[in-house]
Symmetry: C2
Subunit: 511 residues, 2 copies
Amino acid sequence: MLAARLAVRKLKLPSSPVRQQTRLRSTRSASTCPIPTVNQPSFPCVDAHAARESRIIASSSRTSPPAKPSQASSSSGPEPPYARPSPSSYKTYRHTNPLLLVYGSSLPEVEIAYETWGTLSSAKDNVILLHTGLSASSHAASTELNDAEGWWERFIGPGRALDTNQFFVICTNVLGGCYGTTGPSSTDPTIGRPYATRFPVISIFDMVRAQFCLLDHLGIEKLYASVGSSMGAMQSLAAGWLYPERVGKVVSISGTARSSPSAIAMRFAQRSVLMADPNWNKGFYYDGLPPHTGMKLARQIATITYRSGPEWDQRFGRKLRPMPEDQSPDPSNPRVPALCPDFLIETYLDYQGEQFCLKYDANSLIYISKAMDLFDMTASSLTSLNLTPPPPRTSPPPLPPSLSAHPSSPRHEYYHSHLSHSKSHPPPTNPPPHLPDLAEGFRPLANTPVLVLGVQSDILFSVEQQREVADALRMAGNEMVSYYELGGVWGHDTFLLDVQNVGGAIRGFLS
Amino acid sequence: MLAARLAVRKLKLPSSPVRQQTRLRSTRSASTCPIPTVNQPSFPCVDAHAARESRIIASSSRTSPPAKPSQASSSSGPEPPYARPSPSSYKTYRHTNPLLLVYGSSLPEVEIAYETWGTLSSAKDNVILLHTGLSASSHAASTELNDAEGWWERFIGPGRALDTNQFFVICTNVLGGCYGTTGPSSTDPTIGRPYATRFPVISIFDMVRAQFCLLDHLGIEKLYASVGSSMGAMQSLAAGWLYPERVGKVVSISGTARSSPSAIAMRFAQRSVLMADPNWNKGFYYDGLPPHTGMKLARQIATITYRSGPEWDQRFGRKLRPMPEDQSPDPSNPRVPALCPDFLIETYLDYQGEQFCLKYDANSLIYISKAMDLFDMTASSLTSLNLTPPPPRTSPPPLPPSLSAHPSSPRHEYYHSHLSHSKSHPPPTNPPPHLPDLAEGFRPLANTPVLVLGVQSDILFSVEQQREVADALRMAGNEMVSYYELGGVWGHDTFLLDVQNVGGAIRGFLS
């Protein structure tokens, strides 16, 4: 979409600051700074920014669509890169009533992109709403409309964690996103131009409310479960909180109910480098060049938080990138290090940034990462947002479709399995001071079965935060909390990679 | 110095890219993008970059020196901000012979800035060489030449950790720095212009060799001890390795002998944002505007690694900045969040970046952070650098000046204290695979008493890395390793803040 927009508006492209700057530098070099040509240092990692800008300009002057991005790879980031979806590859719902937002603004209308897997039962009681992380589209798995691999491909399908033999799975692009759902890059119908940073600040609760507008439209009164990882876990908890009677079970994987200052700091660093890119232009770049350099730098920082040190120790260690054959050094002398990426860990981060920087809308990144920072389910925070807590659900948790089909299965055993998991988690030894406030905030979730799953090597959503969610739920009176901690070296990305353990825990909790 | 350079070269300032860009944006806005003035978002955190640039340009057009930076504050960063030293505030030594460098290049001459505290004994046997972290000057404590607070003010002085009643303490600005010692901003004597990025890549070993040129000049044959924290700990270990017979004891606080991929990743992110600043201009900015925006962004990232999550939980939590009185929101409505810094953790990082961005040379940051990445004392790495390991010291460790003055003190008790500390550390349960290689590399340090001190909340130089240093030294046969781990919430910055425990361990080890 962005590339198409650039193509349409190619005549409006002003002289690029980068090109201006190149010219200025050249002039300056020629007139005041005659640098010897010998020993002139080269910085391919810096030249890459200008080269990318040239490619964008060249591509915007052609009418052909941009080259299709590479296929998904589950090892490359928090959500794997996937083909930028074409509007025909997903369904949309246009909600034409205003959507009131938590922070006091409203959107006059909202379009929601979504995809589905499995078959909706006639009773419409087998629905799983799957929430995405920050930058993912609705394309969680391949569909008839889009056969590209999705970001949770191995978790969705017949017999998989989200078993499409049983469940009807819905995934939306979140409010604020750029993959078909209304976000900063969407046209503000009141002025006929992109919102840009006139887009209102949104919250995780707003994202969920938009999703429930879609459910209303689809005639789905109740969810069998709400499932999400990372930011999706925030949405999943928020869905259970906003609509206790409509959400049968909640799955929260590597999420949090209260963003920590450390996580805010890492996202702040990303927003800062993005907003400092001159191309960002305070968010008004849609008729010009996108802040691709800032996006690359932001993604490099983000990638650091997605994996763990032990994984990098094993995977990269202190290995250097292979030297091109024509530059292979004299083996009797030390290899002269480069200031541009030289260690494999550096080339990895560089690659991750490069892969991402033109695939996602910069303003979406800013708004959604801010929504993550703002997320806080303590009672005091919810009160300050004028969010009135609904009463906890009174209806019993749903029986899984498989059990419904086999009424002889003893229901008490089903509950027992949850309680035994719950009891396996010891009480907190050093409870954080905000735990009672969080427990108070969690009251609407008191009767909802919740799976909380965390990863000990996660540095973005620490395992302490996972324990906090489980502990606060129990303090709120919830006796149906399943809690798991996973080991391993994959850090936050575990939810994308560990089909065996993450998928297994989900399957067990849902069945 | 930088400001002075700008003032001298003010006529050479080209049209700033930022100003160019502002003009382009204005033109574009006027002709193609008539944005309504109502609801126009403001971004003071972005405007700050342009405002800073304007201030630099204005200050470069005045002949007055820049405003004196604020006084040091020990709570603000890895090294507190200190007044940019004037050349009269420290001593210098000009080494007029070429300095051969580990990576094959050489510097034709080297100037070394240094400061001293205490009195050199007639036998010149009471010398402590204090090594600095990345961005510190030689001004570790106030002197007669410079009464500003130094970065280790509370650790140096009569009766303090580095007791000037006993010891003669020397601290240099490191090779590659910008506070008086030769670095990228220095004039290359062969061409009469700043080296910029024609400066050769340097290693921690080069920094130490330069320091020993100074010691030679001062006629100091042996150090009583080599002391350093963070990057200073790397130098301290390197000094003991390069010159076993000249270094009596080694103190390594919150350092490492082998930079990890995680730490490289964080420094890579900083270099990347800095090098992407158009003002950086591949390092050739000395006749123009410095990359102040990139420096601010880099420092924000660095600051995240200097403190710990638990400290921020306690200090900032999720508190927001106070609102200006004229913007105080309607208490019945939620406060609308800003995309610019809003949480206190954000304003803290923003402030840290702002304070630093004009106080340090960007190229120095790049070269020295790269030297940290490159540091690796495994035998295989040292061999690849053609560094020939000297034999371990044969002379016994020095008696402290206080013991020399009181010969009745039993020497065996003095050693016993070291061994008991040493034995308190259990053997590694999961030794990293490179530990034997590191132990082999440490052989020259086998007979040197070493104090290794780490902090459990340090995310930059993890406590695992501290254990690694201690374990590898013991595997190398060193029976005089003292090892301490500190708790607390200050993370990497503990070495600047915890006078009681860090200072106490040093005092005990040195006495």
